[in-house]
Every structure is written in C-alpha cells, then in structure tokens.
Symmetry: C2
Subunit: 207 residues, 2 copies
C-alpha cells in the first residue's frame, strides 16, 4: 500500500513549486493544527514557528481559514492523482477498491483528528470536503451504471440504492460493532470489499 | 412469500393437538399481550376473556411467564419447520436467504412490539430467544464453512468474521440510514442479500 503524502512530502512538493517562505508557513501551520485545535492556534504562533513575518503571511493568505483550505486542497490534489492512477492501472476491481478505501482512510489519519474535526467548523472547508465526497460517489455510481449496461455488473442490483447502501455502511464501519470483528482497518476493508464485490458464493457458482 | 403462522393458525393447530380450554387461553393471552404490554395484562383478564377459571389456568401454566414462553415456542417451532423446508428445497441460495430473512422479519412483526419488547424483560424468554438466535447463526456458519471446504464459497472470505459482519449489519438494517434507501423491507432484504451473496460483479467476471 502506498503512503499518503506525509508532512515531509508536502514540503518537498512545495519547495519545488512555491517559495520557501510559503512552504515554511504550511509546514508550521500543519504541525500546529494537527497538534492543537485549529481554533486555538493563532496566526502569530504560526508565523513565530515559521520564522516569517505577519506581513508575509497576509501576502499569501487572508487568514487561518484560507491556509487550512490550502492545506486540505494539497492533500486532496495528491489523493485525486493517486486515485486516477489506481483506476487506470490493470489491477482487479477488488484491489482498486481496496486501495481507494485505504487512501480515504489514510487521508483522515494523516490529517489527524484535530484538523478533520476543526474543518467541520469551517463552512468553506466542510463544503469543499462534502462536495468532493459527493463527486467521488457520483463518479463511482456512474462507473457502475456504465459497467452494468455492458454486462459487467450484477444485473439484479439497483445501482443507485446499492451506492446509498454502501455509503451508509461506510459511515458505520468505524462503529464498535464492526471494528471489534477485524484485527486491523486493512483487514476490515479487504474483507468487506471482498464480500461486496465478489459475494459470498464462489465465482464459478450462480446458484 | 409464505405467511408466518397467524393467530388463527395457532388456534387451529392447538385445537387439533390440545384441549379447547388451553386453546382459548392461548388465543386470549396472545391477543391481550399483543395489544397491551405483557407486564400490564393480568391472569384474571386472560381468564375472563378466555371464559376459563383461574383453577384451569394454573392446571396448564405456573403463571404468565410460562404462558408467554409457550406461545413463543409455538411460533419458533413453526418457523423452525419452515426454515428446514426452505433449506431442503431446490431454490437458489439467494432465494433461500431471502425467505429465511423474511421469516425472521415477519416473526417480529407477527409477535408485535408489545410481545417482543415485553419478552426482553423476562429472563427465560430472553434467554430462549437469544439461544435460538445463536444456534441459527452457528448453523449458518457451519454450513458456510462446509461449503467453503467444498469450493462453493468464496475462498478469500474469513467465514467467522463474515458471519460477525453480517450479524452486526443485520442488527443495523432497521436503522434510519438504511431504511430510507428502500421502498419496503422485502426490497431491502432482497437487494442486500443479492449484494452479499452474489456480489457487485457480474457472475461471469472474476476481475
């Protein structure tokens, strides 16, 4: 399983693309947001850790919210690229789903509770994350409907309802009733995807 | 879909097997328990509706609890017989699961909220229902493990964990997040079983 972009990876990416001061601001803010709550961290603290003046900060960002949105977009751009790569690769549909599920899982872990929780209180970030989530599910639904028309997806399934079911299930997989069953998140994703994609019956069997 | 034993069916069964007075007691008690809470209904009321003396009541049952346990066992015996019939029939595994899921669903509906809720407060009834539930799942797990050894079940699935997953999922299917997706309980059972048994991919496809 590939690693989702780490803090270090962000910086290496940024120093190649943007100026060093901005990279320092991102690095400092990410570290502070991850450790303390987004709401508590001040622009002064970010600047102090980054050794950058407040004037420089405001040259790039209108405030903390714009900065956290920028960080969120960095992660998402990186993940989107990885997802595209996975979808284009020649591995099985089951393996594709496993990798994409793991990426989504790791995105949450890498951002950390403080950042993901904090983002829910920032309307713009929340809207961005929710919009992205909607688009991914919509694309997945379109893909399944196209493949069903081609005879590659179980013709007895109502795709729209199945997607709603899988989404609802996905939201519940972190619950204690499910978590206790598996040894790890990886095993849970692999086994649940296996059941949903391949089914209980051996593939040669239709009865 | 066959109908689970109705109130009328109990009586017709009982008059064939047991004495008329006992049948009247069962019928009256079932009607009263279903309408009011088990806890509120008195033995006097049951006897009054059944037009049977309290002496006769105590000839058959030590109290209300023994009576509700007797009713519960009548339902369960009937359902067990039906499940055996379904398992032995030549319909597909998916159809078998649909019918068994529907029977379980209808058992709850037929007993009614007052009776099922009331039973949870009677240790003996609760134990009986939970024990039965455990046995059914255990048998289902044994069946899947035997079939997996014969190559008829997806070899990539950990059967023990899959059963735990399906049980946890089953407990959640009544939740609002799932209920809103489907037009009826029948549709929900049929679509979810289709996904779990057959999988998302068309059966000819293994990739």
């Amino acid at each position: 399983m590939e690693n989702v972009m780490t803090n270090k990876a962000i910086i290496s990416m940024l120093t190649a693309n943007t100026r060093e001061k901005q990279a320092k601001l991102i690095e400092s803010a990410f570290g502070l947001f991850r450790k303390h709550s987004f709401q508590r961290v001040t622009i002064e603290e970010i600047c102090s850790v980054a050794r950058v003046s407040k004037v420089t900060f405001y040259r790039y960002y209108s405030g903390k919210e714009e900065l956290i949105l920028f960080i969120l977009r960095l992660f998402v751009d990186d993940i989107s690229g990885r997802i595209e790569g996975i979808l284009k690769s020649t591995i099985s549909i089951k393996d594709k789903l496993d990798r994409i599920s793991m990426l989504k899982q790791k995105l949450v872990t890498d951002l950390g509770e403080e950042i993901t929780g904090g983002m829910m209180n920032i309307p713009a970030a929340r809207q961005y994350a929710e919009g992205l989530n909607e688009r991914i599910w919509e694309e997945f639904q379109n893909l399944l409907q196209t493949e069903q028309a081609k005879g590659k997806i179980n013709p007895n399934l109502d795709i729209h309802k199945s997607i709603q079911f899988i989404r609802a299930l996905g939201n519940m997989l972190g619950d204690n009733s499910f978590k206790g069953i598996y040894n790890s998140t990886e095993e849970m994703i692999s086994q649940v995807n296996e059941l949903l994609v391949m089914g209980l019956l051996e593939r040669g069997k239709t009865e």
